[in-house]
């Protein structure tokens, strides 16, 4: 099998032709979209646009087939046990809110505990927090080890308190660290907790196998996986999806409605109120099909190479503090120029057309734990090149030079 050809890969993104001068290293925030995705969305609107389900006519039936094929395709990619285990949402945030809300009304009772970790994205903290406050559920937080990994010893101790639910990210959106999710799920299950994985970054790194991983929920956003904005996936085991109280009520999720009584439809409709993001689902499915044309190992190798080069280059720049470890890293590096505010560093990179993000990256509890005011985050994708890495390194050098002048 021939190796991964980054130029061939990159050519499929109109963005890089349109913006040839930019080095885009803000991939953990959102990714660019290949032609395959934009074409699928446009083709749907031009040829098959129609509302799905309950359609008496062939156009609607065709749209329904395309929409349901998108679901099956994604379910296949995740190795879900059934297509209806893939629920379309507007994004990872919506999915996590649905889970927190949904469990709060069925599984969780006042006085129960749930378990999160110190490095979660706000989307995996605040939905729980809000409902926990209302319902009197207690949140425990797994601390980190010295090298900013999840402290598994503490994790086990906290599991012993008997949390009903455990929710953690597959990959930290700040540090890029790949968590030992298989082990964490197994431990949580052994402790009798329902397991939720925030896969917003994890899905980009690898094709997760739901039946092997055996988690109860896994969520992600389309826009971070080469797909459109406004679409996300809530994967759940049938058993657990059935136990979620829907956060949205409306069309299609309903079986019968009267002003006296309303009964719900079956999965997946029960959790998909209203007209779904049909084009979004089709676009995300196209992204996944397109991605499968590439060999995951080769893509990962390419990204590892970028990361290695980047770490090597960073070592040669003075006054750089790196928060991310190079091992078990999915391609995200959080760093600071010593004594400087990250937004100054990011702005100086911006002046050199290197796009990175700075701040607390929706993970304030992590930063207060680290006692840092924030960080500059360089996040790499498969379409980044060694040239991107080098331009970023040069720009960082220049920034340090100006800051320490």
């Amino acid at each position: 099998m021939p190796g991964f050809d980054v130029q061939q890969f990159r050519q499929q993104f109109a963005f890089f032709q349109q913006q040839p001068n930019w080095v885009y290293l803000d991939n953990a925030a959102t990714m660019h979209k290949p032609h395959a995705v934009l074409d699928a969305v446009t083709a749907f609107y031009q040829q098959h646009n129609s509302n799905v389900h309950r359609g008496a006519h062939q156009l609607s039936q065709q749209a329904t087939v395309l929409f349901e094929q998108a679901r099956s395709n994604i379910a296949g990619y995740l190795n879900a046990a059934h297509p209806h285990e893939v629920i379309f949402t507007s994004g990872a945030t919506a999915a996590l809110n649905q889970i927190a809300f949904g469990l709060m009304h069925t599984l969780l009772k006042p006085g129960d505990r749930i378990l999160l970790t110190q490095l979660e994205h706000h989307a995996n903290i605040v939905p729980w927090q809000l409902h926990c406050q209302r319902f009197g559920v207690i949140i425990d937080v797994v601390p980190l080890t010295a090298d900013h990994g999840i402290d598994l010893v503490a994790y086990k101790k906290l599991l012993a308190l008997g949390p009903k639910a455990v929710s953690f990210s597959h990959i930290s959106n700040v540090l890029g660290h790949i968590q030992p999710v298989a082990q964490m799920v197994a431990l949580a299950k052994a402790a009798g907790a329902v397991t939720v994985i925030d896969g917003a970054q994890g899905i980009v790194y690898q094709q997760p196998d739901m039946q092997q991983l055996d988690c109860d929920f896994y969520v992600f956003s389309g826009h971070k996986l080469y797909g459109p904005t406004g679409i996300g996936v809530l994967y759940g085991k049938t058993l657990w999806l059935d136990r979620l109280t829907p956060i949205f009520a409306g069309g299609e999720m309903i079986d019968t409605v009267s002003f006296v009584n309303t009964t719900f439809n079956k999965l997946p409709f029960r959790l998909e109120a209203g007209t779904p993001n049909i084009a979004g689902a089709i676009g995300l499915s196209a992204a996944i099909s397109w991605l499968q044309k590439y060999n995951t190992n080769q893509v990962q190798q390419h990204k590892s190479l970028l990361l290695k080069e980047f770490y090597n280059g960073l070592a040669a720049i003075k006054a750089i503090d790196i928060l991310s470890m190079p091992v078990h890293n999915a391609g995200i590096v959080a760093l600071n120029v010593r004594g400087e505010h990250p937004s100054d560093v990011a702005e100086l990179l911006n002046q050199q057309q290197v796009a990175v993000r700075s701040g607390q990256h929706c993970a304030m509890p992590l930063f207060s734990y680290l006692a840092q005011q924030g960080a500059v985050r360089c996040s790499f994708a498969a379409y980044n090149t060694l040239d991107d890495v080098n331009r970023c390194l040069l720009a960082l050098e220049q920034a340090v030079e100006i800051l320490t002048a």
Binding site: R54, G55, A56, Q58, Q61, T64, V65, E68, D255, K266
Partner: protein, 149 residues
């Protein structure tokens, strides 16, 4: 009325459909003629009395409501079905389905390929569109009556 009585009334109707109407449908050249025959099929099936249309017999996934009843002659391992639908096209299509499956053994039912059969009858174009309505749901429900091995 009992299910047995209803079945007794249904079987001759199905026989007639099998012997005559199926050929007419297959032979029909335009959709109008096909649908004219289809419309008549439903009328030939005796209606299920309102009292027997219990909620648990409702088939989900139909735009119109449809009811399905099942009788398994265990001694001979033969499956029989009775149905009714508010919509005439659905009822007609289901009448065809019943012609094909009534009296099948469990093994035959498990193997039965509705799609293939409808193709042979020149009804495929209809069937392929029918994901939204109740036909596939009905076929699944019928096959689900097969005792699991």
């Amino acid at each position: 009325m009992t299910l047995e009585q209803l079945l007794a009334e249904t079987q001759p109707a199905l026989l007639q459909i099998k012997q005559q109407d199926l050929a007419d449908i297959t032979a029909a050249k335009d959709w109008q003629s096909k649908y004219r025959v289809l419309m008549q099929l439903g009328k030939k099936l005796p209606p299920v009395p309102e009292k027997m249309k219990q909620p648990h017999l409702l088939v989900k996934g139909c735009e119109s409501r449809a009811w399905l009843m099942h009788y398994h002659d265990k001694a001979q391992d033969k499956h029989f079905f009775v149905l009714d639908s508010e919509a005439r096209i659905v009822k007609g299509l289901m009448a065809i389905m019943l012609c094909l499956v009534n009296g099948m053994t469990s093994a035959e039912l498990a193997k039965f390929d509705l799609c293939h059969k409808f193709d042979q009858l020149n009804l495929k174009p209809y069937l392929s569109q029918s994901r939204g309505n109740g036909l596939t749901a009905m076929a699944e429900r019928i096959k689900a009556c097969c005792p699991a091995k």
